[in-house]
């Protein structure tokens, strides 16, 4: 079952026709200005410079040739890893601050990847710091490592809390291993992960009471404390002040809950001053519905329509208890939203044209983005059965309005039709210039992996492939 539009050029801006009541939004006059990867790269460079700067005090404070004994060498390595770990911890927390400028520069998808990579590095660095210092000090004092642990815990100020911080970090790192994480309930995992703020607090003291480079009042110590203050300020701003300002400003409420299919609902939201809400199609918010059963849970959902100044909409597949509760939301329910975030938008395109591949309920961000992509895009919508196809009337209308080719590909993954189509050759036949397009992918992990493989073999450069991942 394929369906294609190639005509309907000309009618694209301003003069929008309504289709089916509220489901079709007026088409924004133009595609959003591009946001290149410049911000992300700049930030990467800044962070690397910071890393070098964090080791600089050690370098300047250690006379050449002073590391004459193995103990001194090991201790020095422990100090370096300590400085690096202290710095990485700050970067790690900063990544999670949801500071609007970071969301804008890096975006949720990349932030999540950075967070994971930095997290693993941080854990290894902290463990290295601890072991090197223990071995070095034990050697200096001529005692066993176990006795050294006792000395550090007993005689050193702030060292107990530092050990506790390390323990929490190991626990958080361990539960973040994907297989283990899946086995845990999300809420428990989330709580554990939130406790990592304690690491910042508990690890703080020992750096200044015992850090050879941070002891002395002076520029290094002041700078290090300033970094802490900045990061805490960023977290406060991104997690508390900015959301507070957002919600006080827009005052979002549930307007209506509509069934899209047997197991999918759309929630319409209204608020104040929505005309000034800067949001791009494809971005997501973290939603907290303030009712008795739901207020304590916050879940990310993409908006399923671009900004139109009057309402927002999310389209949600009912899969768990929380999403089941959402069906019973009363109009007027207050909603606490954090966002918008994400780089899965038309503004992050690198090429003129785009290919969109959606699977099942993964259509929602793509549906919103479709309103903002330049004409000439192509959309492949994979669904298992015709009943799984969502928002098809809007898609048909948008395809016509935005001069977009649209194919519904129905069937199981192993059916010959979808299998042929989702191969490198199939994609090239359908979209001959696929290698010169941005490809936006959203759907179940299996489909995403299969598509990325096929696309790479069809010659699409990696940076042109955009994935929607909210997972953290």
């Amino acid at each position: 079952m394929t369906y294609s539009h190639t005509h309907a050029a000309g009618r694209r801006t301003g003069t929008s026709s309504r289709h089916g009541g509220r489901s079709a939004a007026p088409v924004p006059p133009q595609s959003p200005a591009r946001r290149g990867p410049g911000g992300r790269r700049l930030l990467g460079v800044l962070l690397l410079v910071g890393l070098l700067a964090s080791v600089l005090p050690w370098w300047l404070g250690t006379p050449a040739g002073s590391l004459r004994t193995p103990a001194a060498t090991v201790t020095a390595a422990g100090r370096i890893t300590g400085l690096v770990a202290g710095y990485l911890l700050l970067v790690q927390v900063l990544m999670m601050s949801r500071l609007p400028v970071l969301e804008r520069w890096i975006g949720g998808e990349h932030t999540a990847r950075w967070h994971r990579d930095i997290g693993a590095t941080l854990l290894v660095t902290v463990l290295a710091h601890m072991s090197l210092i223990l071995v070095g000090y034990a050697d200096l004092r001529n005692q066993s490592i176990l006795a050294e642990v006792g000395t550090l815990l007993g005689d050193y100020e702030d060292m107990v809390s530092a050990f506790v911080a390390t323990g929490i970090m190991v626990l958080v790192g361990f539960t973040s291993i994907r297989a283990i994480r899946r086995a845990l309930p999300y809420e428990l995992w989330h709580l554990l992960h939130l406790s990592s703020y304690l690491i910042l607090l508990l690890g703080f003291g020992h750096q200044f009471t015992h850090g050879a480079q941070l002891y002395k009042p002076g520029p290094v110590r002041t700078g290090w404390i300033a970094l802490y203050v900045l990061v805490v300020a960023a977290v406060l701003w991104g997690r508390v002040i900015a959301p507070l300002a957002f919600n006080l400003r827009y005052k979002l409420r549930v307007a209506d809950v509509v069934a899209e299919s047997t197991d999918t609902i759309s929630i319409y939201l209204t608020g104040e001053r929505l005309g000034r809400l800067a949001m791009l199609g494809g971005q997501h918010f973290r939603w907290r519905f303030l009712t008795r059963g739901c207020w304590w849970q916050s879940h990310p959902f993409s908006v399923s329509a671009a900004a139109n100044g009057r309402w927002l909409r999310i389209t949600v597949k009912v899969v768990g208890t929380h999403t089941a509760d959402l069906r019973d939301l009363d109009p007027g329910t207050r909603v606490w939203a954090e966002g918008p975030s994400g780089t899965f938008t038309a503004a992050h395109r690198l090429r003129e044209r785009a290919l969109l591949i959606a699977g099942g309920s993964g259509i929602t961000p793509i549906r919103a983005m479709l309103e903002e992509l330049p004409p000439g895009a192509a959309l492949i919508y994979r669904a298992r059965t015709p009943a799984d196809v969502l928002l098809s009337r809007e898609l048909d209308w948008l395809a016509q309005e935005r001069d977009t080719s649209l194919w519904y590909v129905i069937g199981s993954r192993d059916d010959p039709g979808p299998r042929q189509l989702m191969s490198p050759d199939g994609l090239r036949q359908l979209v001959p210039d696929v290698a010169r397009r941005d490809v936006y992918l959203c759907g179940p992990p299996g489909l995403v992996e299969q598509s990325v493989r096929a696309l790479r073999r069809a010659g699409v450069p990696r940076r042109q492939i955009h994935l929607a991942t909210f997972e953290l």
Binding site: A64, G65, S66, L67, A76, R116, D117, T121, Y137, A212
Partner: protein, 200 residues
């Protein structure tokens, strides 16, 4: 994950590189010690022969110093000979190596720098001023610094250093440990001991 592995490997490699670079034998520091140590033997009247070859220098310093001493003055190992030297003529030859002590009226005044020692708080190195067979002054060239270390190092300095400190009073390295600064006191004593060994 692949990037995390890369980052970890990179950090490990650069930490090792940094440590190796800083740890590369401080040839310059060792060399500085030699000229001041050399003229010691001929003039020290009551030198202790056992101290000389023993110089347990932790490293190249000891190895370099020992052969140079023997090559320089084959007589020096014998303590009895030292008195024969007319010290008056010696002063002029020694002057270049000890320019800062020229003020002192005694011709045999010289500075000897001990080996440096690390402890967990920092680097400790002691220099003594020897006149004849007496230590007349002790100076810590380097003590741990920063935060509490500043306080403890200050205590150590107050107790040991100077021309009226414990070093000068006792004339040996068996100093009382400064409370609260055990590690630094011990390193100070080690460095002092090596300086005394070089000087006498």
């Amino acid at each position: 994950m692949r990037r995390a592995l890369l980052a970890i490997t990179g950090l490990a490699a650069s930490t090792t590189a940094l440590v190796v670079f800083k740890g590369s034998p401080g040839a310059t520091q060792v060399a500085q010690n030699l000229p001041t140590a050399q003229p010691v033997n001929p003039t020290a009247p009551g030198a202790d022969p056992s101290a000389d070859p023993a110089a347990p220098g932790t490293d190249p310093a000891g190895e370099v110093a020992t052969p140079s001493k023997t090559a320089d003055a084959p007589v020096s190992p014998k303590p009895g000979k030292t008195t024969a030297r007319p010290s008056g003529t010696k002063t002029t030859t020694k002057a270049p190596s000890t320019p800062r002590t020229t003020k002192a009226p005694q011709p045999t005044t010289r500075r000897v720098t001990g080996n440096g020692f690390d402890n967990e708080y920092g680097y400790v190195q002691v220099q003594i001023v020897v006149s004849g067979n007496r230590i007349v002054e002790a100076v810590a060239l380097s003590l741990p610094s920063g935060g509490e270390s500043d306080i403890h190092s200050g205590d150590v300095r107050d107790r040991y250093d100077g021309s009226g400190g414990e070093v000068v009073q006792k004339q040996n390295a068996n100093l009382n440990t400064v409370s609260g600064a055990t590690e630094t006191s011990n390193s100070y004593k080690q460095s002092l001991r090596s300086a005394i060994e070089q000087a006498f």
